[in-house]
């Protein structure tokens, strides 16, 4: 592992962000809009609902956590797309750069930019709607960690798909979090889902986070054992995603796709 080569991947993205407001704004704008829309909705629901449930930590907190996972995944994939758009895979992979160093470079960029998104979300949710992360207690740390690892796993798997399927696979990548969200019980308990959807929820790490969050909001404490299952699943998915990426890389080196990437096929 070479720090200079990893640094090169990070520096390239720093140069791009520094000279390009159109890359910087999406880090903040989409999460800010989500917080505003859902913040006003939860405020409205609190005003018309006679239930004891406070919608702000239950719904707005869920939005904030789900946006965090989505940003982690998308930032990792966006960094890879920079090489797709500039047809730069050849230059990078014909250099001494190792695949693992490339992945770590993507990861550092994703951590930094999604961390910035998270800070903006927290500040906005606190100032505008009074949602304090402190209301979740220490549970917020494992919540974020499980979602972070899941986001990275999704990002690495998506990056592998882009590498294998070519530039046009972009349309396939962005909706991945949306496809998962109905099963993950972001806004509702998993028990309201049909049995077959509950079975899928069982293998999704975020579902344990959002169940745990609702448990904390309901004053029932954090089910650490359930969250541990979610954490273990997230780590397993991350390992599988990395294995998938390395396998895809070996395939595109074997069939020559990396050298003819824009063709999307070698046949």
């Amino acid at each position: 592992m070479n720090a200079s080569r990893i640094g090169a991947i990070v520096l390239r993205m720093f140069y791009l962000y520094r000279g390009s407001p159109q890359r910087v704004f999406p880090i903040f704008i989409f999460v800010a809009i989500d917080i505003l829309v859902w913040g006003f909705l939860t405020r409205y629901l609190n005003s018309v609902s006679h239930a004891d449930l406070n919608f702000v930590p239950a719904l707005l907190g869920a939005v904030l956590l789900w946006d965090f996972l989505t940003r982690v995944m998308q930032q990792l994939t966006m960094t890879l797309f920079e090489d797709v758009w500039t047809r730069n895979f050849f230059n990078f992979f014909a250099s001494p750069l190792r695949t693992s160093e490339y992945l770590i470079g993507l990861l550092i960029v994703a951590v930094t930019t999604s961390g910035l998104s998270l800070v903006v979300m927290i500040i906005l949710a606190q100032i505008a709607f009074g949602l304090s992360f402190l209301s979740y207690g220490v549970a917020i740390a494992p919540f974020l960690m499980v979602l972070f690892v899941t986001g990275i796993a999704l990002g690495v798997a998506a990056a592998a798909l882009v590498l294998r399927l070519g530039p046009a696979s972009e349309w396939l990548i962005w909706p991945i979090p949306m496809l998962i969200s109905p099963f993950a019980g972001v806004f509702y308990p998993v028990t309201v889902l049909p049995v077959w959807m509950q079975a899928i929820a069982l293998i999704l790490p975020p579902s344990y986070v959002f169940e745990g969050m609702r448990s904390v909001v309901a004053g029932q404490g954090l089910p650490w054992d359930r969250l541990a299952i979610g954490g273990a699943l997230a780590v397993i998915y991350l390992v599988l995603a990395c294995m998938f990426f390395f396998a895809v890389y070996r395939t595109v080196i074997r069939n020559g796709l990396i050298a003819r990437y824009s063709a999307e096929t070698v046949s």
């Binding site: 200079s4 090169a8 791009l16 920079e82 500039t86 230059n91 250099s95 001494p96 080196i253 020559g256």
Partner: protein, 252 residues
């Protein structure tokens, strides 16, 4: 037969098949330090496939590649650390400036005293005034000069040049050929050079390999090779070999 001399590049029985198509078919050659070897052949002969395998972006079906005595398949990073390349089909990212590109790729190749190296290469390749210009808005000739500057960043022991002067005016091309020849004169670097410009090949290459249908069909000194094979010029010899290959290909 590859002689037992120090080689910066040793390629042995290299093969690459895509399905039923054998793009490279048992190619063996070497490049010695201080030597410029021309890899010639008609389109589709297997030149770029061979270069892609040497650069580690394409896995051979069979055979071995050693760079500075390091097996590329076993120690890819070590082998590619002393290699670099410039190719018309691999432009540097257009959304980074000239200087940013050189810094990013300098870090990828772990170049020591990188800032000083960048300054020198900007001057050598006449890019000082473009240092803050995005690579994407450079003319094709300027982009080629940038690719060559990037290729020289790590003072490579093996330099792969795929039609390096294709987009450059004759005067600049001459300067660039002289610059590369001077760089090779130190006796440390070997160059594998592909070009369709036979004048250029004769001017810079110590030895040429004619590739056709994935095989080396002719090898020798580009200055004497035409006469040895009854051709007036290297250009004529190229055409003869390409046409024979075409007929052979038709019969195959």
């Amino acid at each position: 037969m590859i002689p037992p001399v120090p080689c910066v590049l040793k390629v042995e029985r290299l093969e690459k098949s895509f399905g039923d198509v054998r793009a490279v078919d048992g190619v063996s050659f070497h490049v010695a330090p201080g030597e410029i070897v021309g890899l010639l052949g008609p389109n589709g002969a297997g030149k770029t496939t061979t270069i892609n395998m040497i650069l580690g972006v394409l896995e051979p079906s069979a055979g071995q590649i050693e760079i500075e005595g390091v097996d590329l398949a076993a120690e890819r990073t070590k082998a590619l650390s002393c290699t670099n390349f410039a190719a018309v089909y691999a432009p540097l990212p257009g959304n980074l400036t000239v200087e940013q590109n050189l810094r990013v790729f300098g870090m990828l190749y772990a170049v020591e005293n990188l800032s000083a190296r960048i300054e020198k290469l900007l001057a050598v390749y006449d890019l000082l005034r473009y240092r803050r210009t995005k690579a994407g808005v450079l003319s094709s000739g300027e982009q080629t000069r940038l690719s060559l500057a990037k290729a020289m960043l790590n003072r490579p022991r093996l330099l792969l040049l795929d039609e390096p002067t294709a987009s450059i005016d004759p005067s600049s091309a001459r300067d660039i050929r002289a610059g590369i020849a001077k760089f090779v004169d130190n006796g440390l670097c070997g160059v594998l050079w592909t070009s369709h410009n036979m004048y250029e090949v004769q001017a810079v290459c110590d030895r040429v390999l004619f590739l056709s249908h994935g095989r080396i069909v002719l090898e020798g000194d580009p200055k004497t090779l035409p006469e040895e094979h009854g051709a007036a010029t290297l250009d004529d010899l190229f055409v003869n070999v390409a046409q024979e290959a075409l007929h052979d290909g038709g019969r195959r």
